[in-house]
Symmetry: C2
Subunit: 131 residues, 2 copies
DNA sequence: TATGGGGCTTCCAGTCACGGGAAGGTCAAC
DNA sequence: GTTGACCTTCCCGTGACTGGAAGCCCCATA
């Protein structure tokens, strides 16, 4: 399997796959002409990583998850701890964004949005009544 | 006013203030010894930028907002458009994170989290029943 | 046999918004 | 005169890629 085929099947850009090799997440074989030769197991790993990434796990999380995935002696508690920590990060980020959203939508609603210069948004930013 | 004083009053690290000068957001004067000499107006701009940043505006947004702030002929519609676009980005990000959160919390809840290797989280990531 | 086009390779540079740290000048207090 | 806090510039690193250049490789068509 060449890189473009694998990229299509895993739903990842070829560039990203080369990057994942560079940082040691996968180690595809090489053909005589220097082209990468992907095995089914490489494709499977890439799809795994892609799904983990789409859930927001960092690359280092993915590395750890892959290691657990391939360890038949793993304890599910380790996996759960990783995922729960990530979940907490996501929830914190959501809370942060929702706070921004509240403030910002208040300002946006207060702004007439016409041709005049008066603007509660700029006033809020300038005078600190916003955060 | 020296940089540390301004940093304290604006609530920004000195490093960040130097960076903002480097990219042209502010242009403090210089003392004879080479130290930066901040005016009240510099401090005011820095506080403005800090508040905009804390609402998630990018640096380029801040540059545009500052320009509008200092333009007495501005139309509040321009400010509102900027802020509304940013608000939409925030809302999109929240939705994305909430989707992650739903999937991930489902997986985490399904995982026993004990010493056994069986793990729905890894299964979900490996078999694509997660996204 | 030439050539054209697509695919593959590596390497370098850029992204965003800083943060860390080195090397060295300056200032006020003791 | 000597600390010690403050200031300066400069350069590198972050995360996870993305874009682009330069150059091989392979196959099909004229």
């Amino acid at each position: 399997m060449n890189i473009k085929y694998v990229a299509t099947r895993a739903g990842l850009p070829a560039k990203t796959i080369r990057y994942y090799e560079e940082i040691g997440l996968i180690t595809p074989l090489r053909q005589a002409n220097g082209y990468r030769a992907f095995r089914e197991s490489d494709l499977h790993k890439l799809a795994f990583i892609g799904r983990a990434r789409s859930l927001g796990f960092t690359i280092e999380d993915c590395r750890a998850l892959l290691a657990l995935y391939e360890d038949r002696e793993r304890a599910s508690a380790d996996v759960k701890a990783l995922a729960a920590a990530h979940l907490a990060r996501i929830e914190a980020k959501i809370a942060e964004l929702q706070a921004m959203k509240r403030t910002l939508s208040g300002l946006v609603e207060a702004c007439a949005g016409d041709g005049r210069p008066d603007c509660p948004i700029l006033q809020g930013l300038g005078q600190g009544h916003c955060c």
